[in-house]
């Protein structure tokens, strides 16, 4: 089937190609175009004419050139070997492409996503004669020190096992199991399976999401928490910190596996991950971060159609590991580039544009994507999740544009990055007035187990948010009359907000100690700040001038605790608590 052309090119405009005399193809089939066999996909059919999007540069492609069909839709190869790899948007391994064409990515290069050479250590988990259903684990493979790969019965297969491979070393395309289906067919299964990327993988049922995705970033965990299986958006103008935030979450969040999609962004940012992640140690497993990471890099200089595909290939890999019972976090940087790829292709197809040139189906596509996030019971009966964190790059930094607006309807966390905070180098520049999390109440129980009554997350969070809100209101007055005019009770609010902002919410990704805080440290820090605030109330009540409170030496300790007290020396907070009481008691006694 590969060698009989199924049509002829009739028109070429960049990544969009039309064909005539097309037959025997289906919508969304993968095709190969021209003598160089450029990879493409059928995105429109009308009689014997087809419209294709081509994932590679079409320079030199001529009308009249043959088109071949692969007979199947764009599908991901699934199996051991994905973790630690870096792929392009259509899942070609970039290392193999580098071996083939060097520094610059050439055209028409084909390389399988999974190595056909590596021998994997397979241990069977089923017996001959056993009945199997979709999602059941056939056997396991240590994919990395960190990830046990669970080879599953594919979603569309069930029956009786007629043979299963003994424990030993196998290549991904060797048979490891045979199943006789109720229809009497014999299905041969290998560790390698395929799944069409634009289709979501089935699950047994969706479960409520009530476990936080702990990120180690205080403004996220303590103010706008994310859940495992949740969906979050990080909108922000250029330079406000979307990518660093995504990197921070990829590094420090307590997911089992990370799928990081660089969608239409910088090459150097992917290189940075490639260089850094193998060196960084995951605090949850003490193994290099790379051992739980899959990278998809479709940088801005790569063809735009593959950018469109990268979001789907990424989330398919995430779902596949979810189905093994893992908690997967997917970062997509940036979903706006994906939306713009849709717009660019739609423009070339001469479709009727809706808002700002985006196609009318933009909202549907965004909804479908974020819908693939969730905490689920898998077909195999275990619990797994896909958390999706999408960066959004609004044109002109204006959140009223279509991608930000539509996205905000489909997500639970909205971390709005703020240009002004970023320009003061106040990071993460998450604006606490415009941001929100719909997951706060769901994670309160989890935090109660960590902090108990003494370090009551829910109460402390509420008070923190309250201080920040009141500060925001007071700032409106300050803008008109200055701070000096306010009574001391109000100055105390402004003062506490400043401490919260600078000593707690602000967190440098580049500070060795501060880059990541364990939940217990976050609670202790909040507790110290609020304790100081409450005792400040005692001071103000006694009409002691507030500047005396502000000049206490302990304040400097509070301002510096985030980078002074490491995650494993939390007892040092006891001394801080004591110092606050001593100094304030002394002040009151004066």
């Amino acid at each position: 089937m590969h060698d009989e052309p199924v049509g002829k090119v009739s028109w070429v405009s960049g990544p969009v190609v039309r064909t005539v005399e097309t037959r025997g193809v289906h919508m969304l089939d993968m095709v190969e175009v021209g003598d160089e066999r450029l990879i493409g996909e059928i995105i429109g059919l009308n009689g014997d004419q087809a419209t294709l999007q081509v994932y590679e540069d079409t320079t030199g492609l001529k009308p009249g050139s043959p088109v071949y069909s692969t007979g199947y839709p764009l599908a991901a190869e699934l199996g051991p070997g994905l973790v630690t790899s870096i792929y392009d948007g259509i899942l070609r391994p970039l290392k193999a492409l580098a071996d083939a064409t060097g520094i610059f990515i050439g055209r028409g290069v084909r390389a399988p996503s999974l190595s056909r050479e590596i021998l994997w250590d397979f241990t069977p988990a089923i017996r001959n004669g056993q009945e199997v259903t979709p999602g059941m684990i056939i056997g396991t493979v240590p994919e990395t020190e960190r990830i046990e790969h669970r080879v599953m019965v594919p979603p569309n297969v069930s029956g009786i096992v007629t043979s299963v491979a003994a424990a030993g070393k196998y290549k991904v395309d060797q048979e490891i199991c045979r199943v006789r289906t109720p229809q009497g067919d014999e299905v041969s299964l290998t560790m390698l399976q395929r799944w069409p990327v634009r289709q979501k993988r089935p699950v047994a049922r969706r479960l409520p999401a009530d476990t936080p995705l702990v990120t180690g970033q205080r403004v996220v965990d303590c103010v706008f928490p994310m859940v495992k299986g949740g969906a979050a958006a990080i909108p922000g103008g250029f330079g406000t910190g979307k990518t660093i935030t995504q990197h921070q979450l990829a590094k420090w969040s307590d997911a089992d596996l990370i799928v990081y999609i660089g969608c239409g962004e910088r090459g150097n940012e992917m290189t940075e991950v490639l260089v850094e992640f193998p060196k960084l140690i995951d605090p949850h497993s003490n193994r290099p971060l790379m051992e739980r990471t899959i990278l998809i890099a479709n940088t801005s200089d790569m063809p735009v159609a593959a950018r469109e595909a990268s979001i789907y290939t990424g989330i398919t890999l995430a779902e596949y590991y979810r189905d093994m019972g893992y908690h997967v976090a997917l970062m997509a940087d940036s979903t706006s580039r994906w939306a713009e790829a849709l717009r660019e292709l739609s423009g070339r197809l001469e479709e009727m544009p809706a808002e700002e040139g985006f196609p009318a189906y933009l909202a549907t596509r965004l909804a479908e994507f974020y819908e693939r996030a969730g905490m689920v019971e898998t077909l195999g009966g275990s619990t797994g999740s896909v958390s999706v964190i999408g960066a959004v790059s609004p044109a002109g930094g204006d959140f009223s544009e279509p991608v930000t607006q539509h996205t905000s309807r489909f997500i639970g966390c909205f971390w709005a990055l703020d240009k002004e905070l970023a320009s003061a180098r106040y990071y993460p520049s998450i604006n606490y007035i415009n941001s929100h999390s719909a997951y706060t109440e769901f994670v309160a129980d989890w935090w109660k187990k960590i902090g108990g009554e003494k370090y009551n997350w829910e109460a402390m969070r509420e008070e923190t948010v309250d201080v920040l809100r009141r500060d925001d209101k007071l700032q409106q007055i300050v803008k008109l009359v200055g701070e000096e005019e306010l009574p001391d009770e109000q100055k105390l609010i402004l003062d506490t907000a400043r401490i919260l902002q600078n000593a707690f919410l602000q967190q440098s990704a580049f500070d060795e100690v501060d880059t990541y805080s364990v939940p217990e440290k976050q609670l202790r820090m909040l507790s110290v700040i609020l304790h100081y605030y409450h005792r400040g109330g005692d001071v103000v009540k006694r009409s002691i001038p507030i500047y005396k409170y502000q000049q206490l030496p302990v304040r400097n300790e509070i301002m510096r605790m985030k980078s002074r007290i490491p995650n494993d020396k939390l007892e040092e907070f006891d001394a801080l608590d004591r110092a606050i009481d001593e100094q304030i008691d002394a002040l009151i006694a004066e």
């Binding site: 028109w11 990515i105 002109g396 204006d398």
Partner: protein
């Protein structure tokens, strides 16, 4: 070029602005180069934008005036637009298609390279981290330039960006290293006097023989500008990755480039996105800006310093906006600062270097660099807020601490940002100056620097 074989046709169907529609062709490929001969025998160049079984749309780089429906000859060259490259091109001036326009003979090419380039495989990029000292405090301390970075200058009409860029080119160095370097200068729609200014500045600094210039002047046909940056980057890639030189590419003015793109899109009748610019503007710019960096196994590098003018000084305009989304930061110039007599008029708050973090610190600049810089940013941002407040309530009504911030701000602008166009400050001087200015604030405000750094660097008296 006369020896090229290709398909030749006489007569075209339609001419719209820079586009020519031709019918009755056969075997023509997408993005192919075209030679066009007008009625009076003038040779022009173009490339295929769209091609069907019998028809093609060709974009002509030169003016389409002089082309007629009946007599225009078109020759399809069966290859993409490409240019000759060689080291000999340094010291010379070319048009957009790398034909010499300085009166000298064409350099002997070492190779012919397609100008559109190809994506660099991210697994073979080498993450840039070599600090380039520009001698300009506002850049070195606050938005540090790193070798292999793409760092544009966002300017506005009437601002002294050319002086700033010339100063950067003159002073830029890697401390302690002497390595082969070159400048590739891609000028799009440049005015004659500005072109002269740059030429003189290169000559005076003695760098003239290391500069290759691709020049399209303001009165040259606008569509040529679409090729200029591509030719410049193609030569830069050859010099960096084949010859092993450290290449600084200056592209000015990217706004003119984008306007040429818009002109073509409009002539084609494409659905525009923002402000009439085509939906593919982001991808198109990315294909240029991403042609910067360092790669594994090659010694050379490409550092890009593009310049663009923000229409109405509006940073949210699609050109600066999309650029900022692609490049590794931006240096923003401001009319307000220039109006206050400050040179270089660099507005540090919206400026950013995304690669700074990897290029600074112990062993590169100094261990306190990251913290001082962050502290200066925080303080200066507060200055700007206090200034607004002062305008409302009056300076006298400000709190003591706010007044101290105002004083800091004045000194910061006058002593730190401001410097002479020939003043080349070392990074040590720059950082020490930063500390000296922080002296205007109470120590309790300096929470972004470490206590041991305060002990070591904050002047004692």
């Amino acid at each position: 070029m006369a020896t090229e074989i290709g398909k030749e046709y006489v007569g075209v169907q339609r001419i719209v602005g820079p586009l020519v529609m031709i019918e009755g062709i056969d075997g023509v490929g997408y993005d192919e180069m075209v030679e066009i001969v007008s009625d009076d025998g003038k040779l022009k160049h173009g490339r295929v934008l769209e091609v069907g079984t019998k028809a093609a749309v060709v974009q002509v780089f030169e003016h389409t005036t002089g082309l007629s429906i009946g007599a225009t000859k078109m020759k399809f060259l069966a290859r993409p637009v490409r240019i000759p490259v060689s080291e000999e091109m340094l010291g010379r001036t070319f048009n957009a298609l790398a034909e010499p326009i300085d009166g000298g003979p064409p350099p002997i090419p070492k190779d012919l390279r397609p100008v559109s380039g190809a994506a660099i495989n991210p697994t073979l990029r080498h993450h840039p981290s070599d600090f380039i000292q520009t001698g300009i405090s506002a850049i070195d301390a606050m938005s540090t330039l790193v070798r292999g970075q793409k760092l544009p200058v966002f300017s506005a009409s009437g601002l002294e960006h050319d002086r700033v860029i010339a100063q950067i080119i003159r002073q830029a160095k890697i401390i302690g290293k002497q390595e082969p370097f070159a400048v590739v200068f891609g000028a799009m729609g440049l005015k004659h006097d500005i072109a002269d200014f740059y030429r003189k500045s290169f000559e005076e600094s003695g760098a003239g023989n290391n500069v290759a210039t691709f020049l399209t002047l303001a009165d040259d046909p606008s569509i040529e500008r679409i090729i200029t940056p591509r030719s410049a980057l193609t030569l830069a890639e050859y010099l960096a990755f084949d010859v092993g030189m450290h290449v600084l590419v200056v592209l000015t003015d990217m706004t003119n480039y984008c306007e040429a793109l818009r002109e073509v899109a409009t002539a084609k009748g494409e659905v525009p996105s923002r402000k009439g610019y085509p939906a593919y503007l982001y991808s198109d710019l990315a294909a240029l800006y991403e042609r910067a960096g360092q790669v594994e196994g090659r010694t050379g590098s490409i550092t890009q310093l593009p310049l663009l003018t923000m229409p109405n000084e509006d940073i949210t305009h699609p050109i600066p906006d999309l650029t900022g989304y692609i490049t590794e930061g931006q240096i923003v110039l401001s009319k307000a600062l220039q109006g206050a007599g400050i040179y270089p008029p660099i507005n540090v708050l919206p400026s950013l270097s995304r690669l700074m973090n990897d290029g600074i610190g112990e062993g590169r600049t100094r261990e306190d660099h990251r913290n001082v810089s962050s502290q200066l940013y925080a303080a200066y941002a507060r200055v700007k807020r206090v200034e607004v407040l002062a305008a409302v309530i009056g300076e006298e009504e400000l709190s003591e601490i706010d007044k101290q911030y105002l004083t800091f701000g004045q000194h910061f602008e006058k002593e730190f940002i401001q410097q002479a166009p020939d003043e080349d400050r070392s990074i040590e001087e720059t950082l020490n100056l930063g500390w000296k200015l922080l002296k205007h604030l109470p120590v309790s405000e300096l929470t972004r620097v470490k206590e041991e750094q305060i002990a070591k660097y904050l002047p004692k008296d």
